[in-house]
């Protein structure tokens, strides 16, 4: 006998603000184990071999092909990007045919990845793929490629995801990614299909929408007649429909993928409902010649980079992995061109906390101490002691004991440093140290920020090492 479950009211989960991709923390970490995980960062495109491990038939004539890299590495990418695959359509010994397919899996599950291919009866490649790619098939790939992807960190994370037909593929990757991550987000998916039974992934989408209160999914059946019992929307994309599913579209980032005609309509309608054109990102799935050319250029660029990387790794794999963070930014979307959301990512904060700390979105400490010290070897040296203080503006070296306060020694040697309280309170003796270490016992005369910027109070400081001081 089946027990009936009762619906229980459950509170909303407590969440941190916004969304952040996990590799942000990995890339920023200096800890050794995390550094090893840098391979999970969305790095440069590479050429690699991948083995098919699973095929999953989907509704709407799509087939999902799950791969793993032959070298055992995870595939690092951003949700929305694609790979270019060489298919030996005309036999193993003939020139393969390249095709690009969006990744439909989430980069948060990087050990396998999948593409979902729609069978196009008249096409050259897709029927071949459906019939020939099986577990065990090994293919050559180039990727990840593409600027159409979710940002690495987004403290607002309010999205409208528009998909038509097979355009659901990169959108599916985005939905899966968001669903797998903690944090606040507000996602509306509007998915257009030609027939009621043709919505790929609809079971999984329904599941995600049912358990993840951040995600809402709407379906619409183009302009065909709708069958009995159809509960979704009907008709092509209109401004009224956008307004119905996302009355706040105006404040969202919009990602749209589908055929060219659909996307052209979407562009127009989104403007009508007040979406700023800098908030719209699009991926054309079946494009005219021009978009194809753009993709070709993108792929050629990716191939060049992949080649360079391969050489670098061959030369010195260790150096290459060390330098991984520099790989950031290659496929940043335009709105992020200035790096407003860098690998530093979002600070940890709950959305409800009102006493949140200041955000370090602009990259944190920007006060690199000067590395090139001026030459103090020609200065006169006075005093006795085990350490040397070089006062660059006065042009004198002062020998000092490690127990002696710096201010007194400096003043005796004729260095002009104004001072009043001599107890670390008034801050009037504040100077900049160019190098060296001090031990300071101040009483509020200097702020942590100033210390970070290299300043100290010589009245209440002793030298730990030789020092170079800007005074």
């Amino acid at each position: 006998m089946i027990e009936l479950l009762t619906e229980t009211a459950i509170q909303e989960p407590q969440r941190i603000r916004g969304l952040e991709m996990p590799w942000n923390r990995v890339m920023g970490s200096t800890e050794a184990p995390a550094r090893a995980a840098r391979a999970l960062g969305p790095w440069h495109p590479q050429e690699f071999m991948a083995e098919c491990v699973e095929t999953v038939p989907e509704a709407g004539g799509l087939m999902t092909f799950v791969f793993r890299r032959c070298d055992g590495a995870p595939l690092a990418f951003r949700a929305g990007q694609y790979v270019n695959v060489a298919f030996p359509v005309n036999g193993e010994d003939k020139e393969p045919v390249d095709r690009s397919y969006s990744l439909s899996s989430s980069p948060t599950e990087p050990w396998t990845f999948s593409i979902s291919v729609k069978r196009d009866g008249g096409g050259l490649v897709s029927p071949w793929v459906h019939e020939n790619v099986k577990p065990g098939t090994v293919l050559e790939m180039l990727g990840p490629v593409g600027a159409f992807h979710l940002p690495d960190a987004d403290r607002r994370a309010r999205y409208l995801l528009l998909a038509a037909g097979a355009g659901i593929t990169p959108i599916m990757s985005m939905v899966r990614t968001i669903h797998s991550l903690p944090g606040h987000a507000d996602v509306v998916v509007l998915y257009h299909g030609a027939e009621a039974g043709g919505f790929a992934f609809h079971q999984e989408l329904a599941y995600i929408a049912s358990v993840d209160s951040r995600v809402k999914v709407f379906y619409s059946l183009g302009d065909r007649s709708k069958p009995e019992g159809w509960e979704g929307l009907s008709g092509r994309l209109t401004a009224a429909m956008l307004d119905e599913v996302a009355p706040d579209a105006n404040g969202r980032q919009v990602y749209a993928c589908g055929p060219e005609g659909y996307l052209n309509t979407a562009t127009e309608l989104l403007k009508k409902v007040g979406v700023d054109d800098t908030s719209i990102y699009m991926e054309f799935f079946t494009g005219d010649r021009q978009t194809l050319l753009e993709y070709q250029a993108e792929l050629a660029h990716a191939a060049d980079i992949a080649e360079e990387i391969a050489e670098e790794i061959a030369d010195s794999a260790e150096d290459y992995f060390e330098s991984q963070p520099t790989a950031f930014g290659l496929y940043e979307p335009g709105y992020d061109a200035e790096g407003t959301l860098k690998a530093g990512g979002l600070p940890l904060e709950t959305v409800d906390a009102d006493a949140a700390g200041p955000e370090a979105l602009d990259g944190g400490s920007d006060t690199e101490p000067e590395t090139a010290s001026p030459d103090a070897s020609s200065f006169d040296t006075v005093g006795t002691g085990s350490l040397t203080l070089s006062f660059m503006r006065t042009g004198i070296n002062v020998r000092i004991d490690p127990t002696e306060h710096i201010l007194g020694a400096a003043q005796r040697a004729g260095v002009r440093i104004g001072a009043n309280c001599k107890e670390g309170m008034c801050g009037s003796c504040k100077v900049v140290k160019l190098s060296g270490e001090v031990e300071m016992n101040h009483q509020g005369g200097i702020r942590a920020r100033e210390i970070d910027a290299g300043k100290f109070l010589p009245c209440c400081s002793t030298a730990r090492t030789d020092m170079v001081i800007d005074a």
Binding site: R156, P247, D248, D276, Y335, E359, L361, R449
Partner: protein, 433 residues
Amino acid sequence: MSAPVLPLNSRGKLASSLPAEQLAEISQLFEFRRTGYSLDAPFYTDPTIFKIDMEAIFGQHWIFAGSVAELPEPGDYITVDYGPYSLIVLRNDDGGVNVLHNVCRHRGARVLTEAAGSTGNLVCGYHSWTYSAEGNLIHASAPGEAKFDKNCFALKRAHSREVAGLIFVCIADEPPTDFDETSKIFEPYLAPHDLSKTKIAYQQNIIEEGNWKLVMENNRECYHCDGHPELACSLFPTWGLTEGLIPAHLEEVWDRNKEAQSSLEERCRRYGLPYEVVEELDTRIAGIRISRESLDGEGESFSADGRRLSKKLLGDLPDFRLGRCSMHLQPNSWFHFLGDHVITFGVFPINEHQSLVRTTWLVADDAVEGVDYDLEKLTYTWKQTNLQDKAFVELCQQGAGSPAYEPGPYMKSEYQVEAFINWYVQRVQEHLA
């Protein structure tokens, strides 16, 4: 005729040190003020009335000083000067705000001389008397002084309140208590814009050659809005009018305004944002008017077409089309809270014929200049409008100085000006009573 008797505790107080006849004469001016008419000339020109204003209004009430964006971190401070006062408003290590009189307890020198900055302890530049962030005197070199007790010379403190990211100060010993009630009115309107996650995009200080009351009066009406062509692109020039008062040339605008307002209200209900007009300009001590009102065009911001001026939404707001949440607070401030930015306006009297008007544009703290907003475009409308307002105020100040000036009637659309003046007259009379 006899000299007024000064009680011991009134040293330094101005009104009570006025000769009795002068005080009586001024009290009469307040008493016989003609309701519905602009004030008599001395209110705008007389240094003695200015002194009374400083004591009865700026010395007693909660004054808008600045916003959290101006002092985000411990040690950050602004100095706020008005009339004879100079205050230090300092973010302390506990995250709160300390307000200290910027007057050294040694010889009275200004302790901090910059308009804004960051400091550890507070050190007077004259003889280096050093005060903690709480105002306690912690260092004064005192060679040979046997009886010098540092504990007797702390910087004088004043009161502060931080509400929804706005910082208010009050230098009265006992501040009016109803400010907390007023805070409860406006806090829910402003909180969604989350000022703690904003930064200053631009701050403008202009000195208007006009009495502070003329500055406030000018702000409380839109009868003069024909003189603001840039502002009129997005702000409906029918502001302050009601059905039946609409001139023929504004009928079309009025209809557009009504439609925009009803669509805005629908959005507000959807997002749970309050929008109702609360108008208690002269019916409470901390007088307020607040509402959320539609903007023309796209309804997002103060631009020529009503489109957003910054691409980053404030706080957790879901939508750019939120019109403007506008607030007037007696006696010295007004505000516009939009989806993409916030503008705060503070009026700081200098003397009877000069006022500092400080306008601050705040954007989301992760908005990047040149990428998310263009500073020129962001500030254009209100820079122009401020200059126009400055000119209007100065025209009135000149008029008030003319022997030909006599008070004129406030029109129906200027009822908020009357409310401001009524508030002012009541507060001063209470103080002088």
